[in-house]
Structure formats: C-alpha cells, structure tokens
C-alpha cells in the first residue's frame, strides 16, 4: 500500500477531487496548509499599510491506495493540478505498513 500526499493550489481542489473520483478513489483527507518552496511569500507596502504573506496557502490531500494503483493516482493528480506556473505543488509517495479500520478492526486492503 502507498500513501500519496499531494500539495496543490487551493483552486485546483475540485478538479483533482473529480479526477480521482473518476478512477474510483472515493476517500481522501484534505487539509488547508501553508508553506513555501521555490515560490516564496512576499511583503508589500500598499497605501501606507504593510501586507506580509510569509507562507502561501495550499491544499494537502492524503490518499492511501493499493500499490498497483499509486501510479495512476499520481498521474491523475498531476494532470488535474497542473497550470504550468510556479507553485503548482508536489506529490509525495510513501510506503504504508499497515491500515486498520477503527470500527471493524479490518486490516490491509479491506481497511482502505
């Protein structure tokens, strides 16, 4: 099993969600996150007031899928989140040792 973490632009969330739904990924965890990478925050003085944006708002998706499906999920996310401009985000793929469904105690594939 693999965990896929994707940091994307906020306005792309709906597109990515839709794209993943199409390939049968029904569950994911979504959080509002802030950070910076190559694309940095900025400071601006406008009409006498200082506006500082240290960290840029992004959305983080976390999805756990079977190993065989990971590649497809990554491709879909990339396709849907792409604008070609800086700050489009990053996708991380991590190995997952075990999944347990809290309610039933099911493990592994069944619990995804």
């Amino acid at each position: 099993m693999k965990k896929i973490e994707a940091i994307i632009k906020p306005f792309k969330l709906d597109d990515v969600k839709e794209a993943l739904n199409e390939i049968g990924v029904a569950g994911m965890t979504i959080s509002e996150v802030k950070g910076y990478g190559r694309q940095k925050g900025h400071k601006e003085i406008y009409r006498g007031a200082e506006y500082v944006v240290d960290f840029l708002p992004k959305v983080k998706l976390e999805i756990v899928v079977e190993e065989a499906k990971a590649e497809e999920v990554v491709d879909k996310i990339r396709e849907a989140a792409y604008t070609g401009k800086i700050g489009d985000g990053k996708i991380f793929v991590l190995p997952v040792e075990e999944v347990v469904r809290v309610r039933t105690g099911e493990r592994g594939r069944e619990a995804i």
Partner: protein, 851 residues
C-alpha cells in the same frame, strides 16, 4: 400488594410510556403530569408492598424531589426519590429501602435515591446548594405526611426565611455559570434544551426565585402579582410547552437521557413534529427556527425577571441620581430609562433613541424601557418606517461602536422587525449546516459587530471608506434574501435597495448597498475557487467591482461575514487568499484603462464575433486568449490563428506570410519556450529581414503567437522563395542545428562599411518595472536601431533564463522602443535586486553598439 406485571413493563421504558401518551393525544405539560401520575402509582404501590402490615406507617415517608417533585418527568428523567425517616424507625428503614429501590433499579430507570432523617437533610442542604434547590420542589408521595410536612417547614426556617437574598444571589451565580458552560446565546447549532440559555432550566430558575422571594408558585401567580403581563405570560407559557415537546421527542429519538439537540437528531425530530420543506426552506430549518424562537422567548423574559429581582433585592443605597440625556430619556443607575413614557405617543422617534445612545457608549436599556418599547411597537407605522428623522437615529445606532449590542436589543424588543419588516423573513431562521453557528438574524447582527472591530484591525482600509454607513447597512442586510428559496444574494439585492430607498440613503449609496448585498459572496468564491495568478481573472474581478471604494467595502464585508458565521469559517489560510485577491484587484483598479467600459465592450464584441465564426467548439479555445491579444486583431484573423493552431499537433511551428504591399506580415505560432523569440528574430536578421513592429502573445495553454511586420533591409528585396529558406532555417534553429550568434557575427562583420562607426548615439536605456503588474516584470528598452538589435536583446533574456510572455516592439524613426513582459525560469517576477542589476547591464550591453 405487589406491582402488577403490566405496570412494571410500562415503567420499564420511558419511551414506550411516552409513545402511549402520544397515542392518547397528550403533549406538553399535560403529558408530563400524566407520566408523573403513572410513575407515582407505581412507586407508591412499591411503598405499600414494602410497608406490608402497616396500615399507615408512622415515621417513614417517601418524598419526590427536583424535577420529579415538580411533576416534570421526561422519558429519561431521573426519578429523584428520598425515603425520609424518623430516627426511631432506623431498624425498619433498611428493609423498606430495599423493597422500594431494588425493583426501581431493575426497571432500568435512573433513580436518584436517598435515605435520610430530617437532620441529615439539613446537613446535606448546608453543604450542597443543588440539594437545597431540589428540596424547593419536594412533593409528598406516600407514607407519613406529617413527617414530610416537618421537613418542609424545617427547610423553610433554616434556608429560606431571612436568607432570601443570599439564596437569590447564589441562584444568579449558578445561572451565569450555567450559561457560560452551555452557551450564552440561544442560537447554538446544537442547543441544550434544558441547560442552554433560554432552556427549561432558565424558566425553572424564574419559578424558584418567584417562590423563594415572593412566595409565588407557578406562572399564573406571577401574572397576578403584576410581574408579567398577560401577553408576556402567554408567550412564555407557549414557549415552555413547546420546549417540553421537543425535550420529550429528543429523549425519545436519542433513546437515552440527552438534552442536547444534536445535529443528527434535528432532522428526525423535525419530521416527527410534522415540519415539512416549503418555500425553499427545509423542514428542519422551520423546526429549528421554532426552537430558537422559544429559547429566545424564555431567555428574554427570564432576563427581564432577573433584572427586576436584582432591583428588589439590591441594598437600598442613597437614591440614585438621574442624568438627563434629552427630553424623555435619562440614565439612572447606569441604565437608560424613559423619564415619561407618555411622551412616546407624541414623539415616536423616542422608541429608536435609546438604541442610538446604547450604540454610542454601551449604556444598556433598563428592563422597563425594553418592555415599554415592546408594548408600544404598534406606534411604528408606515410613516415611521419612512421617516427620515427615524432613519437618522437608526443610522446612529448602526454606526456606533456598540452597534452589535444595540441591534441585538432592538431585535429582542421586536423593534428591528417592526421597523424593517423584511427582517421578519430571517428572524430566527436556522441554517441547517455544520458551519453556521447563528441563525440568520443573529449572524447579520454579528456581522455588523465584526465590521466595527475591523476599524481597529484594518484601519488603513477602513479609513478610506467614504460612507461607512453603507457598509454597516450591507452587513445587516447582506443575507436579507435568505429563507425565500433560490440564490439569496441575488434575491436580497433588490430588497436591500428597497430598504435603502426607504431609509433615504441617497441614490449613489443605495446602488452601492445593492451591489454589496448582491456580491457579498463574490470575493470569497473567487479567492478560494479561482486561479489568482491568472491575470484575466483579476481583470474580470476588477470589472465586476469597478471602484476602489466598493472593493474596500466588499473586502471588509467578506471578512466580517466569514468571521460572523462561525469559528471554523474564517482562518488565516482563507485570509491570505482573500488578501492576495484584494491587493491584485486594487492594483488593477488603479489602472483605469483596463476597466474602461469601451474596452470591456470591445472585448465582449470580439468574443461574440469569434464565437459566431467558430460555433460551439469555440468555448474552450476562447478562454485561452489573453485580452490584449483579442484587442490586437480582427475576429477573422483570430479565427484563422485558431485554425492554424491545430497544425501544431504534428509540427514544431507554424509560419504564415502575407504580402501587405510595402511590408510583410509574418505569423509564427509554436509552443512557447525560453529563447523562442530570439531564434525567430535571429533567423530573420540572417535573411536581411528587419522588424518594423511586433506583437508577441502567449496563450494560456503556452502557445506563443508572434505577429511581426517586417521589411527587407535597404538595398535588398524578399522573393517568395526566400520565405521557404527562412522557414527551413527556422526549423534548423528551433531544433538547435543552427548556431545563430556565430552566423550573424560573420554576416555583420564590419568589413569596409564599418557599421560600428555609424553608431552615433550609443546610449540605450533599460527600465525594469515590478510595480505596474502583479503578474509580470515589465522591461522597457530604448535603443538606437541596428541590424540584429532585437536578436541581441532577446538572446540576452534567453541567456539569463528569462522568458518573454508578451512584447510590443515598435520602431519610430531610428529609435526602437521595446516593451517585454517577462518572468524568470520558474515563472516568477524578477524580484532579486542583484539579478535585476545584472540583467539591466546585460541588456544595456546588448542594446549598445557592440551587439
């Protein structure tokens, strides 16, 4: 006699008992009493069986306490029972207790049990205020009635007589603590029907105090004593009955002792009580509206009562000084009073005045003042609603620092709805979702409150707003279209306009108000759902908003609206997105040319024309086209470009040449990449073609469209077959098989003519501008024209990894003015100081004579 099986079974489940009563048509207080009667019978039969052999047991009695004592038995209420005994019966009592409590425990009911002598009761009461309160409601069930009577009088003597003030004081403290714990306003998403503000406990507290302080029992006596009017009593009594119904159903559906109206139960109870979806409002929203109104009624009247009580128990100090505010109004003991209520009939604006004072310095209204206003609401007729004097006072209430408090009081007295009847639609209107914590009316008032707080946190923007009253009014009315089905912002706009006119707001302000209401969701939607790096989107936003003042108000309204919705709705994350949008639109609005209505019309006309010639398939292509591009060509030309663009699917580039008589127009299209323009210009220079003018665009999908007006350098001419050679060379250059710099160097080698000597004014000028656009760094280059100049300039950009996204190249006389919109390798503006200096120097070098 042992209890029958039938009764045992009936008692076993509160839900079953209640269901049976419902079937008989019992509801509200009547149901509770019947439930109590059934339980009484059962308990007393247990007592009788336990006391087997004693005709009338002396020295032992069974007493109901607390809610059970009051006959308030809900399906899962505790049965608060106490076995009271005289010390002489100590050896009998244990056996009795077992016989009574064991079957009750077995029946599955929650039983609060106690076995005490009168002395032990008094000791317990001394330690525990709640026990005192539950003794207030004690009721003799069976056994030795004299013994119960003794307990009652002992309790009165020890804890009530001479200690009324203390008791009231403790009760008030507990009430405040309870409100703190369970929420201090009634519009909680998941209110606790018993403990929340306005819940059954608040009403109970009124009755306890009435009992202890004035010896009154029941609501009826409160009316008789003149504490409440008949109308007030009816409202309270109705609300009470309704809340009892809700609590019964709540116990029923949650199948346990639960008094919190959890989200998951609301829909179920709404159905159970026959609330259907209608007029675009969900049944559950109708239901919750009713619940809130009932809680609100109890909250308002218990507040009035407690203020009244506070007044009667306050230590008589020196007589309070009255401070006159104006004829008819004064402040006594820090509360606003009507000095002569009869004045109101002649001068109705007095009904609004107290709120203006409250808004200005926070002085609350005396409880009698609030009641007088409610009693006299009928004085607000159409004339008052339209009176400009009244409006001026209302605006004071809206613009004062404590506007939130003033509006809340105005809503609670009923004046707000009477004055602005449209508000009635959203009064107590619930919103069935997980993030609105207030009903619509409270949320609207909360929005005004937050707007006032933004004066401090966003002072720079606030100061610029020309008419803050429009903003406050928009805060109050932004959701006025809710509860009518459909899109509330659109529906609310004309309603707000109507109200604005009625309040004599003036035409321009009315239009601004209308705009704010109609678009109050716009910025937040754009900020969170759209690409803020898309210049076209920002231009669109700027055109919708049109005006800096409106943008400022809309921005503050968006923040206030979100903050007033609930703690989860507003966060720094959303704030950062909204700020980004705000700043970008602000900048654009300062460029008046972009929002020029003629330009807007022209763009629309172009889009319509192109749609006309391309048909349905145009949709996706059209949004790829930057506005400057649209405005630079004829619709036919653009349609032609789009047709040609299809060729890029299997070719590296598309080139088309058109003879325009004294010059040629050359069109290139290719997927953009850094250095593309420089290669095109290089190849042209190599073939003795000079650039007269050029327009460079990049579509949103990254296709570069370059349109160049060219002519042969003097002394040469271009034959049609030359274009084939150019095309061929371009193919080589683009696939990196031709090295243009060396070829051009060889070509322009100063042999004989010595072109360098002709360079008389070698001064070039380079300006890097990062201010004018949020999206690109704009580089302006002024230079003396010479062959290969443009190639050198564009190659310099390429060498430094700078991409050209848009450019305008023009030659006037011998002076070249080139404007390039550029970004660095990763698509960011060029902001690093050192890099900009390096680029400037490089461009100066390139644009100079050296080449």
């Amino acid at each position: 006699m042992a209890p029958t099986r039938e009764k045992y079974a009936l008692l076993k489940k509160g839900t079953e008992a209640v269901q049976a009563f419902w079937d008989k048509g019992l509801v509200g207080r009547a149901l509770l009493q019947e439930h109590t009667r059934v339980v009484d019978d059962f308990v007393c039969s247990l007592f009788a069986a336990a006391a087997n052999g004693f005709e009338s047991p002396r020295g032992i009695s069974l007493v109901a306490l607390g809610g059970y004592g009051r006959k308030d038995l809900f399906p899962f209420s505790d049965l608060d029972l106490m076995l009271l005994f005289h010390p002489s019966m100590e050896d009998r009592v244990e056996d009795m207790a077992e016989h009574i409590f064991y079957p009750l425990w077995d029946s599955g009911r929650e039983v609060g049990h106690g076995v005490r002598t009168i002395k032990e009761c008094m000791e317990q009461a001394q330690k525990d205020f709640f026990f005192q309160v539950s003794l207030l409601d004690m009721r003799h069930l069976c056994g030795d009635e004299t013994l119960t009577g003794e307990l009652a009088s002992e309790f009165q003597r020890k804890f009530i007589e001479g200690k009324r003030r203390e008791f009231v004081h403790k009760m008030q403290i507990h009430r405040e603590e309870r409100h703190k714990r369970f929420g201090s306003h009634v519009y909680l998403l998941e209110p606790n029907i018993k403990e929340s503000r306005g819940g059954l406990r608040d009403l109970q507290a009124v009755l306890w105090i009435a009992n202890v302080l004035y010896g009154l029992s029941g609501l009826q006596q409160l009316e008789e004593a003149g504490i409440f009017t008949k109308a007030e009593l009816d409202r309270m009594s109705g609300a009470w009955d309704n809340l009892i119904k809700v609590r019964n159903r709540l116990h029923f559906v949650s199948n346990r002792k639960n008094d919190r109206l959890f989200f998951e139960y609301q829909e179920q109870i709404a159905k159970l009580s026959g609330h259907l979806d209608k007029q675009g409002v969900l049944g559950v929203e109708h239901f919750m509206r009713e619940v809130y109104e009932n809680l609100q009624t109890i909250a308002i009247y218990s507040d009035l009562f407690f203020e009244h009580v506070e007044e009667t128990v306050r230590q008589p100090r020196s007589k309070a000084q009255a401070k006159a505010l104006e004829p008819g109004l004064e402040v006594i003991n820090g509360r606003i009073h009507f000095s002569d209520p009869s004045l109101i009939d002649k001068k109705r604006v007095l009904l609004m005045k107290p709120f203006a004072y409250l808004a200005t310095d926070g002085t609350p209204l005396y409880h009698r003042t609030r009641r007088i206003i409610t009693e006299k609401l009928d004085l607000i007729e159409e004339r008052q609603q339209k009176s400009s004097r009244m409006a001026a006072v209302f605006f004071q209430a809206l613009a004062g620092k404590y506007a939130g408090d003033a509006l809340t009081a105005m809503l609670n007295t009923g004046l707000l709805v009477k004055y602005i009847p449209e508000f009635n639609k959203i009064r107590s209107l619930a919103q069935y979702d997980i993030y609105h914590i207030y009903s619509v009316d409270r949320h609207s008032i909360e929005t005004v409150r937050v707007l006032h707080s933004l004066k401090d946190t966003h002072s720079h923007i606030f100061q610029e707003i020309k008419e803050p009253i429009v903003l406050f009014l928009a805060g109050l009315l932004h959701d006025i279209g809710k509860g009518r089905g459909g899109k509330h912002a659109l529906i609310g706009a004309p309603i707000a306009e109507e109200i604005g006119k009625r309040l004599h707001l003036g035409d321009k302000k009315v239009q601004a108000l209308r705009f704010l209401v109609e678009n109050h969701l716009y910025l937040m939607k754009m900020a969170t759902r759209r690409d803020l790096d898309d210049e076209g989107l920002i231009i669109k936003c700027a055109r919708v908003i049109k005006d800096r003042d409106l943008l400022n108000m809309l921005y503050l309204l968006s923040i206030a609206d979100a903050k007033a919705t609930g703690p989860t709705v507003w966060n720094e994350w959303k704030g950062a997105l909204l700020l980004d949008l705000y700043l970008k639109v602000s900048h654009l609005l300062e460029r008046t040319d972009l929002v020029d209505p003629d330009r807007v019309k022209a763009v629309q006309w172009m889009l319509d024309q192109i749609r006309g010639c391309l048909g349905d398939k145009a949709g996706k292509e059209l949004c790829q086209l930057p506005e400057d591009y649209l405005l630079s060509f004829t619709p036919e030309a653009i349609c032609h470009h789009l047709e040609l663009k299809k060729g890029l699917e299997n070719k590296a580039f598309v080139m088309e040449v058109e003879d325009r008589g004294h010059y040629w127009s050359v069109l290139f299209m290719a997927p953009d990449r850094i250095g593309l323009l420089s290669k095109i210009l290089g190849v042209l220079a190599l073939h003795n073609v000079q650039i007269l003018a050029a327009q460079i665009f990049t579509m949103k999908d990254g296709t570069a469209v370059d349109v160049l007006d060219v002519s042969p350098v003097s002394g040469t001419c271009i034959e049609p077959e030359d274009w084939d050679r150019i095309k061929h060379d371009l193919g080589l250059a683009l696939s990196d098989k031709m090295h243009l710099p060396s070829r051009l160097a060889r070509k322009h080698k100063p042999v004989g003519t010595g072109q360098h000597h002709l360079c008389l004014k070698p001064k070039a000028k380079v300006v890097v501008d990062n201010e004018s656009s949020d999206f690109y760094t704009i580089v302006e280059i002024h230079a003396e024209d010479r062959p290969g100049l443009l190639f050198d300039i564009t190659r310099t950009f390429c060498d430094m990894g700078v991409g050209i996204y848009r450019a305008k190249i023009g030659t006037s006389a011998d002076q070249v003015v080139d404007v390039f919109y550029v970004l660095d390798r990763v698509g960011q503006k060029l902001t690093e100081k050192d890099f900009v200096t390096e680029l400037e120097n490089a461009l100066l070098y390139a644009a100079g004579c050296a080449g």
